[in-house]
């Protein structure tokens, strides 16, 4: 009699644990699948701000994407194109001006800490001139999107036929910190190649190959 009870209890327990597992399954990744990877970067650069609000095109900074296999991370000099003049958020500058007018003095140069990092890495002094004492330090960003070495990917091949950056990188212009959106598995690549050859890219017909040697050599 009580044996039956025990059995019943066990079955119920099993059922519950199964349901629990099913709920977990979504979060489960195969080893090497970095989907959702969102590392902290040395400089809190916000794509939302630059690409989203400021409407700066992806290729302005990642110019390699058009011509090279690497989209490339922009050199600090590219940042300086703007940040030679823009050194802090508008609000902060305004506030400083206000303060200065009150205390009727010349407004001080306000540099936001993140932008200051660029200046430091370039070994620039506060007048943005090369400081001979210091040596420039390259900025070590943390890579988010990484393919294994045995898979060859060429940005230009995709950008040139009109594949939108977001198609692989997701809505970067809405992210403060960049996150890996797709799982970057081979299946993900191959299926895109298959559908593209059927549907075309940007309403142009394309013929992406699914030969192994398209990516592996």
């Amino acid at each position: 009699m009580n044996q039956r009870v025990v059995t019943l209890g066990m079955c119920v327990g099993l059922l519950f644990s199964l349901i629990a597992l099913a709920l977990q399954a979504g979060a489960w990744h195969l080893p090497g699948n970095q989907q959702g990877y969102e590392p902290i970067q040395p400089i809190a650069f916000s794509h939302r701000l630059h690409a989203g609000e400021m409407q700066i095109g992806c290729l302005y900074c990642h110019s390699g994407a058009e011509v090279s296999r690497h989209a490339g991370i922009p050199p600090a000099s590219t940042c300086m194109n703007c940040h030679r003049f823009v050194s802090a958020p508008l609000g902060a500058l305004r506030a400083e001006d206000e303060l200065a007018r009150k205390e009727n003095r010349k407004p001080r140069v306000i540099v936001s800490p993140e932008i200051q990092k660029i200046y430091n890495d370039l070994a620039l002094d506060d007048r943005l001139l090369r400081d001979p004492q210091r040596t420039p330090q390259p900025i070590a960003w943390t890579r988010v999107y990484r393919l294994p070495d045995f898979a060859y990917f060429n940005h230009s091949a995709h950008v040139d036929v009109g594949v939108a950056c977001q198609q692989c990188h997701g809505p970067v212009e809405t992210m403060d910190r960049v996150r890996q959106v797709p799982d970057l598995t081979m299946g993900w690549c191959v299926n895109c190649h298959r559908t593209a050859s059927a549907a075309g890219v940007a309403s142009k017909p394309v013929h992406p190959s699914t030969d192994c040697s398209t990516c592996h050599y």
Binding site: L30, N33, D183, T185, M186, G187, W188, C189, V190, N191
Partner: protein, 482 residues
């Protein structure tokens, strides 16, 4: 096979055994302490196993380069051992399944150990394709499973995939078949013991067997069906193994004769191995009454037959090669016999074709001191057959510029020894842990050749009349009830 049927009046089991005797004899050897002979054998086997284990570990950690193989001879001792062990395995299935279908009742006393041998041999064989991979940890890629690669499946045109399935199936089915046969005997063991590890193990594995005849009834039909499945299976497995070579384009591999040739060879080597083991088991486990001279004799005849088939295959290969007049084909075989590896070809022919001819003589067959070495020699010869096929065909193929030589490294040799270590370790453990003779089946054939103790009435007895019962005296009848 007709000549293997024993005359009915001859008894299969010596010494007028009753079922009880059978149970006692077989189980006794399990319950007693192991003999020094057993210990000796076990220690040797186990140390070989350790040696092999070390070699494998080193090879997997360092690279296939630790073998003697090279750009031209990509396979050698490893695959030789694989084919060899698969071959060994086949005799087990042959004896247990094919002879069962052929109603060869003499098989009962050897089929258990034969099946065990099959399983252990397949285990040994299975090790080699694994460790001879460049990246063994990727071995699971040989099986088609849904994956994140798009999905990328396997190449069903590749004999290696066929192999994976064949070996897998073969191992599973053999195991099930073996276990099925064990269930009643495990029950026997269980019921002889009151407690202890063996008892627990037996009770767990005997699935609560209670000798119900309704179960026996189903049991027999299942057993028959498995035997029916195992028979084509065993043929298919070695056929597929032979296709590893026959589908290749290498002269000396690319031959349509391979499947029958390999199957015959497999049975040949397998029976030889059974013989070796049975002779050992017979001595060490004191089973002379169950494994009689007659069993040995029958298996020797089987050897003689298969040796003949193998011999014909050797001749045919040469004939077809020379008849083909393809320079590469012709050369492959002339090189096989007269080239740098001629010596191995010599060993192969003498051990597999010449030596077994001795078995034509009853004297030889009945003299175990002759049979034992012959069976060993045959095993040696069959190992070399595979070596010859693999290495001599590869080392000089099409372009003379890439001809090379081959010399095994100590690592490979240790693996070869290790596989024997594994095999015998497992077998000796089996002798200690499980009944080596299928008791239930033997009991079933005890009466063969003995007049039955009880005459069955020709017709069912007429129901006794009341008077008769009265006459016997009903009074006593009640006594038993209560």
């Amino acid at each position: 096979m007709a000549d293997f049927v024993l005359p009915a009046q001859q008894s299969l089991i010596a010494g007028n055994k009753t079922p009880a005797d059978v149970t006692r004899d077989i189980c006794h050897s399990l319950e007693g302490r192991p003999t020094p002979l057993w210990w000796g054998g076990f220690l040797v086997a186990f140390s070989l196993l350790l040696l092999g284990g070390a070699a494998v570990t080193y090879e997997v950690a360092t690279g296939i380069g630790t073998w003697g193989v090279n750009r031209t001879v990509g396979w050698a001792v490893g695959i030789t051992c694989f084919v060899f062990w698969i071959g060994i395995g086949h005799a087990g299935t042959l004896i247990s399944a094919i002879l069962f279908l052929l109603r060869q009742r003499w098989r009962t006393s050897v089929n258990r150990s034969a099946e065990a041998m099959t399983i252990f041999a397949v285990m040994c064989a299975g090790v080699f394709p694994m460790i001879h991979l460049g990246r063994p940890w990727m071995a699971y890629w040989l099986f088609p499973y849904p994956n994140t690669r798009g999905s990328l499946w396997v190449n069903f045109r590749s004999p290696l995939v066929w192999d994976a399935f064949a070996i897998g199936t073969y191992f599973t089915i053999s195991l099930v078949f073996w276990y099925l046969g064990l269930i009643p005997d495990l029950a026997t063991v269980r019921d002889r013991l009151c407690c202890g590890f063996r008892h627990k193990l037996a009770s767990l594995l005997s699935l609560g067997w209670n000798g119900s005849f309704r179960t026996w009834h189903r049991y027999e039909s299942v057993y028959l069906m498995l035997a029916g499945l195992a028979t084509p299976l065993v043929l298919s497995v070695h056929t597929i193994v032979s296709w590893d070579f026959a589908t290749g384009i290498i002269p000396g591999w690319h031959a349509t004769i391979f499947p029958p040739y390999f199957v015959a060879g497999a049975i040949f080597s397998g029976v030889a191995m059974v013989l070796t083991l049975v002779l050992v088991a017979r001595k060490t486990m004191r089973l002379e009454d169950y494994i009689t001279i007659r069993h040995i004799d029958v298996m020797c005849k089987l050897l003689l037959l298969t040796s003949g088939i193998v011999g014909i295959a050797y001749a045919t290969e040469f004939f077809t090669a020379l008849y083909s007049t393809g320079p590469f084909e012709e050369f492959a075989f002339l090189n096989r016999a007269f080239g740098p590896f001629g010596w191995s070809y010599g060993i192969m022919v003498s051990c597999n074709v010449l030596v077994p001819q001795l078995l034509w003589f009853r004297k030889v067959r009945s003299n175990l001191w002759m049979v034992f070495p012959i069976s060993i020699l045959i095993n040696v010869g069959m190992w070399f057959e595979r070596f010859v096929i693999i290495v001599t065909s590869l080392h000089r193929d099409f372009l003379p510029s890439s001809w090379t030589n081959y010399r095994p490294t100590p690592i490979e040799i240790s693996m070869l020894l290790g596989s024997f270590g594994l095999f015998f370790t497992l077998f000796l453990l089996f002798c200690r842990l499980l009944p080596v003779v299928a008791m239930a089946e033997v009991k079933g054939v005890l009466h063969v050749g003995h007049e039955r103790r009880v005459e069955l009435p020709a017709t069912p007895p007429s129901f006794p009349s009341v008077e008769e019962l009265e006459a016997v005296g009903a009074g006593t009848a009640r006594g038993g009830l209560g």
